[in-house]
Amino acid sequence: MTSVVEVEDLAKRYGDRTALDGVSFTIERGETFALLGPNGAGKSTTIEILEGYRRRSGGTARVLGVDPGTAGVDWKARIGIVLQSSTEAGTATVREMLAHVASFFPSPRPVDETLEAVGLTDDARTRIRALSGGRRRRLDVALGIVGRPELLFLDEPTTGFDPEARRRFWDLVTRLKHEGTTILLTTHYLDEAAELSDRVAVIASGRLLDIGPVDGIGSPEARIPIVRWRDGDGLHEVRTGEPATLVARLVESAGREPRDVEIRRPSLEEVYLRLIEDGGGA
């Protein structure tokens, strides 16, 4: 199996400022890979280098086996891009725009099917400039997937979505995964990354802090389960590798059910925040 994305020692400098330094990762075919990190960490710089929009200052990058810095239209026909923001205020309708962009691709997804997939069927005849922010975003997603890309770039795709729209979007990404689409995602919603991705990479200040499966990143200590309960002395919180044993002991010593008992595995968000905190000092 060949890797869809191979990045080795990627660097990007703007004058004296280093935006990316020594970032390496690979994304396998069919994988959903999330790039996480605070604002200004270098996520968008990385994704835009891989999309072919920016030139790298150092290192190597291969996307679908081609250097994105010099790739041509055949390569572009195999990728789909959902940019972080779009501001075009078009007079075209949603359907016209989608049909037009679909015509650029060799074997596009049918327009109606694409509209249905992103939930824009009712807005097919709406002018783009009249769409609300969230619906515009859905159109961006539709334009990204209409070419049936092998590799889909999603740069903060659900910004401005209401919770229901986000759920629908997650279902859509899951369907694309089942179709075999490889996905590179950046997001600020850690629950989204946890829900959708097979692996995540965390970058901060242009450096890769960690990379691995969603339940495998961060230090082992950061992932130790937390047990919480309440008694006469107030709220207790203990981290232990054997939470069930601890709860059993609590029941035994108190002789009854402890109040507000809760066993929780640290969420990706908690692991992530700790990584950023530790990594930021380094």
Binding site: Y14, Y53, D74, W75, E88, V101, S103, F105, P106
Partner: protein, 281 residues
């Protein structure tokens, strides 16, 4: 260029997508009501203003025996035809592309498999279509309302046709070339309009070119607008008006040469400087 890229750039696909872009661009153009009013109707509106303002003036170019003069409206018509070509092609296209670059339209297209040449075809084709319709309107108003004579024979129509087509092609490629100069879409009008305004004035679009000092006529001769206007005069004005031109003839050979030269300059500039997105160093 890789083998794969050459395959993708096979002319059939590029032309088909280019044709699709023409339809797309023309439709977008006519849906923007303010551009339709201010750019599409502009030459016709200016013509109406001139024709009305100078309607009581004596005819121009009267022979000693008192015959053969043409109205001021008729005298201005070729200049306004030239203005229409230059405005549609260079000015509107330059500004429109600069704005598309800043509002993300070009970024989206640049990430799609649309060949850049198809995009250029779309722009040039839409300029041709809109300028042709604009011209029909202007000529209809001039002829039907003000009795301005249209080219009288095949020779003059032929002059009109080649000057128009060559100018439009040149204006479109120059428009693409000039679009890279403004740094933002918002500054595009401020940067591009004055350049074109100066060129139009020194090229005799809005008044009598032969009234300009000789050195200024010579300077204008290095730029294309003068030659578009002169070519249009050769198509619309009576033959003996050629005597008023700088060298006493229509100089159509030079006109063709200058327009082709600027088309080549525009093509090279467009191909070398055009970027879907601004490069970040």
């Amino acid at each position: 260029m890789t083998v794969a890229e050459r395959r993708a750039l096979r002319p059939g696909r590029t032309l088909r997508l280019g044709a699709g872009r023409v339809v797309w661009e023309v439709r977008q153009y006519f849906r923007e009501r303010d551009t339709v009013f201010f750019t599409f109707l502009f030459p016709t509106v200016i013509f109406l203003v001139f024709a009305a303002a100078f309607s009581s003036r004596d005819p121009i170019g009267v022979r000693p025996d008192g015959t053969g003069g043409i109205s001021v409206a008729a005298y201005y018509l070729p200049g306004l035809v030239a203005a229409g070509v230059v405005l549609s092609g260079i000015q509107n296209l330059g500004i429109a592309i600069a704005q598309e670059r800043s509002d993300g339209t070009l970024k989206r297209l640049g990430g799609s498999p649309l060949p850049v040449v198809s995009y250029f075809i779309g722009k040039a084709g839409s300029v041709l279509v809109t300028a042709a319709i604009q011209l029909v309107l202007l000529l209809a108003v001039a002829h039907l309302l003000f009795g301005v004579a249209l080219p009288g024979d095949a020779t003059h129509w032929f002059r009109f046709a080649w000057v128009f087509l060559l100018s439009i092609l040149m204006a479109a490629v120059l428009g693409i070339g000039i679009s890279g100069i403004p740094r933002t879409g918002r500054s595009a009008s401020a940067v591009i309009v004055p350049i074109l305004l100066v060129l139009q004035f020194v090229s005799g679009v809005y008044f009598t070119f032969s009234d300009l000092p000789d050195w200024l006529q010579t300077v204008a001769g290095f730029f294309p607008v003068k030659w578009v206007a002169q070519g249009m005069r050769s198509a619309f004005l009576p033959e003996r008006f050629a005597a008023a031109e700088q060298h006493g003839t229509w100089d159509l050979g030079t006109a063709a040469l200058v327009l082709v030269a600027w088309t080549v300059v525009g093509l090279v500039a467009a191909r070398l400087t055009f970027r879907w997105v601004r490069r970040d160093g």
